[in-house]
Symmetry: C2
Subunit: 504 residues, 2 copies
């Protein structure tokens, strides 16, 4: 643990150090805030709760706009949620979700690759305050971030006022980051000169306008850990099918032992896949992904299995955080933390032939996927980078259990005739994997034949007869306007009855 004086090398900014309770005064009614933080990593863990406490004490209403990289921890977002009028481009807060559904908070769910540029261009208006967690303030006032990048650089460039939260309990992340701002008019766009996962083309720090810094506050709160459950047998089975699919592609497309760079979603199945890949014949893996997570730490110790990684955040469990502390120097040499416009860039995902993997909420038999909404109307988290990766990937796959048990006792199928919100279309998904098997969508093949394959290869055997019936009906039936249906009471009523009767 360092002192504030160790970490703030710029006297002009050290003079602006103040208690966080004073610093929150710089947020005025109606302000737009851009903050650091991505999937719980590197968020301003002292400033936001202190701001919430002050607003609560003042009895203020919901008039702030909060823009972040991606999700924050509930400890940070929940207290502030009642004071937010607008939130974007991603959240996974129970408190915000409730207010969004009550229509008290506006929420926009935006491709993460595009958000930073939209912000810089001015599509969301101006930025009043940037609040950014940093490892270190350098002698000239430039700052070194902590465990994520997200939109911190854009926030600092665009804000009228800057608050720097120096985390003295976090390790000094100097050397992890590679910072570049997206080109926006009147500048012309340029080719991003990155041609491999580990390439660095920017600076390890962010230059700032010192005169805009209104406060420096100290934090000693470490990143809140990400939780993982024990990997289930079903998840392990999904992971085995993913690796079998990749092994088949390797054979047919001639990769040899070197697999193209991998993107991996966040969550249990993703971690199971990473574990299975560790035990596969693939060597010298590269991860080009959004979040560097637990399963990848294991690769850090094995140069035969692993070459390098790129992400915009390091989000770890308590155990993972211990591994990182132990392997901090190795990780610094092998992992680049990029701004999210680059970690998720269409240009780079295409160029690097990234293989994208994600877990959807549900998919349909034609290959469309829902990643954001329950029952069509209730947003769960948001799209995040799933669209960035699935659309632009060399190969894109969705992995999901074929059924999911709900709290109300029903067991629902994740393979449906129709998803209730479409985030990814049939044109973007090249493979669907469940614990039952996988279905590829890389041949010249009509939708009904793809549907047959998805039903027979991926759906749970219990739901297959119902899905087969739907497909038969869909092919020959009159258009939906007529209301004619072969299912007594409609497909969804029969499906719902089947969900209730699922054995076990």
């Amino acid at each position: 643990m360092s002192s504030l004086a160790d970490r703030v090398e710029c006297p002009e900014l050290f003079a602006k150090a103040m208690p966080v309770e004073e610093a929150v005064r710089f947020v005025e009614p109606g302000n737009t805030l851009v903050i650091s933080g991505f999937t719980k990593a590197g968020e301003p863990k002292r400033f936001l709760p202190a701001l919430a406490a002050r607003l609560a004490a003042e009895g203020r209403g919901a008039d702030l706009s909060l823009l972040s990289g991606a999700s924050l921890s509930e400890e940070v977002e929940a207290p502030l949620a009642p004071f937010l009028r607008k939130r974007g481009p991603y959240m996974s807060s129970r408190a915000s979700r409730k207010l969004i559904h009550e229509r008290k908070m506006d929420y926009a769910d935006i491709h993460l690759s595009q958000f930073a540029r939209n912000l810089m261009v001015g599509l969301y208006g101006g930025v009043d305050v940037a609040v950014v967690e940093v490892s270190r303030i350098r002698p000239d006032g430039s700052v070194v971030l902590t465990s994520s990048v997200g939109v911190s650089a854009e926030g600092l460039a665009k804000a009228q006022r800057i608050v720097l939260e120096v985390n003295t309990s976090a390790p000094d992340y100097t050397g992890f980051h590679d910072i570049v701002l997206p080109p926006v008019p009147p500048h012309v766009g340029w080719p991003v000169p990155i041609t491999n996962v580990g390439d660095r083309v920017g600076t390890p720090y962010i230059p700032i306008d010192r005169s805009k810094v209104v406060a420096v506050v100290e934090s000693n709160v470490p990143d809140y850990p990400v939780d993982f459950k024990e990997t289930s047998e079903a998840e392990r089975q999904i992971a085995r099918h993913v690796v079998a699919y990749l092994a088949r592609c390797r054979e047919e497309l001639g990769w040899g032992k070197r697999i193209p760079p991998l993107q991996s979603g966040v969550g249990n199945i993703a971690n199971a896949v990473i574990g299975e890949l560790y035990d596969s014949p693939f060597e010298r893996l590269r991860f080009f992904t959004e979040v560097f997570q637990d399963g990848m730490m294991r690769f850090m110790e094995d140069d035969a299995k692993f070459e390098c990684a790129s992400s915009t955040a390091i989000s770890l469990s308590t155990a993972g955080q211990k591994d990182l502390a132990r392997l901090f120097q190795r990780t610094r040499e092998r992992l680049v933390l990029r701004p999210m416009w680059l970690s998720n860039s269409a240009e780079l995902i295409t160029r690097l032939f990234v293989i994208a993997m994600n877990t959807p909420i549900e998919v349909d038999i034609y290959g469309h996927a829902n990643s954001t909404h329950l029952d069509g109307g209730r947003v769960v988290n948001g799209l995040g980078g799933s669209g960035d990766f699935l659309r632009n990937a060399y190969l894109s796959l969705l992995h999901t259990p074929s059924v999911r048990k709900l709290r109300d006792g029903r067991t629902v199928s994740t393979i449906l005739p129709m998803v209730r919100h479409v985030d990814h279309t049939e044109h973007d998904i090249k493979c669907i994997v469940t614990e039952q098997g996988y279905a590829r969508n890389t041949e010249i093949r009509s939708p009904y034949r793809r549907a047959e394959d998805i039903i027979e290869s991926c759906a749970h055997p219990y739901f297959r007869p119902l899905l087969r019936d739907y497909l038969r009906y869909a092919g020959d039936a009159p258009p939906p306007e007529t209301g004619a249906q072969p299912f007594r009471g409609g497909f969804w009523a029969e499906y719902d009855a089947a969900c209730r009767a699922f054995p076990g």
Copy 2:
């Protein structure tokens, strides 16, 4: 009109000249063909009908795979359709459509930007025969294309056997094209060094392996013209709203008189918009688009209004073809014809801040769009490049009339509670325009508020009350499984009755 000897400068290949009826013998049962052609431009107009005639004479079944850039003219595709087992990545043939719906032909609808790379990588297997229309064969055997590029270069690189159809009636397009193959493993990807619409980075010809050329045939059939209807008052009104929206963006985003490069879909509304832009205060326009079409020819004569254009095809009406003949040299200097992996590239569309405009079949009140299917199950054409441009654009807009009169007498709303096939999601559309007005989707704003705006700004006044009712219901209702509905007989039944009762 030139002679074949004028256009074939390579003696080795001139010796392979033969009647087209002989050349078609090189297509064997089960072959995969990659052909030139994009939106009727530059297709092999003699070879394909001659091949169809031979297959018909032999009584052959449907066993060929036909892969093209985009759509072919019906004169070329219809005779061959009965002999096709697989078709991709786009078609707009009535004959093929019928066979696809009868499940006699498999059709895959693929993002045009991704098709060439998928083909090169081998996702669709090998290529047996490439049939490419050319302007000229150079002394070393390299070829100069005609009015489109599409996937001709990839077809020539990948095919076992090559047939060159030399069009001696078409002008010599030498100097129009800028050819580069997409990098595919084992080569590493590289940044495409294009930073403005008119940049050229490749060769004006395609090098080929002469030993793979099995036949050279002559054609004197000019490109079949594209038809346009007279612009209607409703189309002109849509175009005025598009320009009003762009003028507002110019004000708010500080463009000055120079608008970012424009992409324009194919069709009547697109042409009306181009016409309206000609009369707008915008100067020195640049088009970064898929198809160079009629409306753009007018710009060719006016250096104050126009700077340069990039596309993968020149598709014109009979009148447009005459204009092109007259302005051939000016057009060559101001228009680059690119392979479709570059004309539609995510990397370039992002970098150049392209403004994308497209006409959908229908959109929903949340901002999702259907560009491909009628009634959910019947494919019209395909996605083409609409997803490439809408997803990656700086600003993306959909323009459509608010209602459409069907042949059966009903008038349907193009603004619906739910589209029956999703090709573009709410995350990709930044503005919807009808003759009623426009609704922007670039604020931090929840879906229901966006829906209110789309209904009030874009829907036809006749359908607004029904859509308002739907939105009210959707917000407060139980999930769809329960079947509970405030609409007697369901929303779609009430909507259908309204379509029948539309006045006038």
